[in-house]
Subunit: 126 residues, 2 copies
Amino acid sequence: MNLDFAKSDGLVTAVIQDQGTGRVLMVGYMNEDAFRRTVETGYATFYSRSRKKLWLKGESSGHRLAVKSIQTDCDRDAVLVQVEALGPGVCHEGYQSCFFRTLKDGAWAESEARTYDPDRVYGGQA
Amino acid sequence: MNLDFAKSDGLVTAVIQDQGTGRVLMVGYMNEDAFRRTVETGYATFYSRSRKKLWLKGESSGHRLAVKSIQTDCDRDAVLVQVEALGPGVCHEGYQSCFFRTLKDGAWAESEARTYDPDRVYGGQA
């Protein structure tokens, strides 16, 4: 499963796509350990660049990403992970997808409604 | 159009998705100038990390990516660009999508056929 982790400081870019709807839900980063755990456990695990540690998506919210298939690109420095998203939303701000803002006349506008209340799920913690 | 270019050495991750089929076609990177040109020209322009310069996708192949809409994520360090892909394929190796390999039993297997002959299009140049 040789990916090119060297190009970006030990990380590959991971695009998470909903297998059913085709919607892109989020972009994260995986180091070799996170990628291995994703494959072995069947649940998407990332490397947090800010917290500098592994992060099982849904650890606190329960909104896990069940892996259905994984593709890599020509350079092998990115992976596309097709998932079934468990729970009402992937974004910690309460939206189905992290891509909830659309560029409109030069400004970013919220282009959809929240699907859950993040304060209830995360209890004030992001 | 403030994106967070500071987090990754002046770059944001750009996921390119076919607006019609929902297929993720490629992942690239944009610096502020590349993003501005993408918005202003309506064609996806990237920053090549290896060549350290701007790169209009389709410059040599003609396989441009006509921008239909752009979303950003909660952190504003990634963009999702919905496009109409001009030409038979986005990948310089001759495939419709750069994500033409799927993980199967621990190895990457080519999971689709080429849609064009890259030697004819690029004349030996990648």
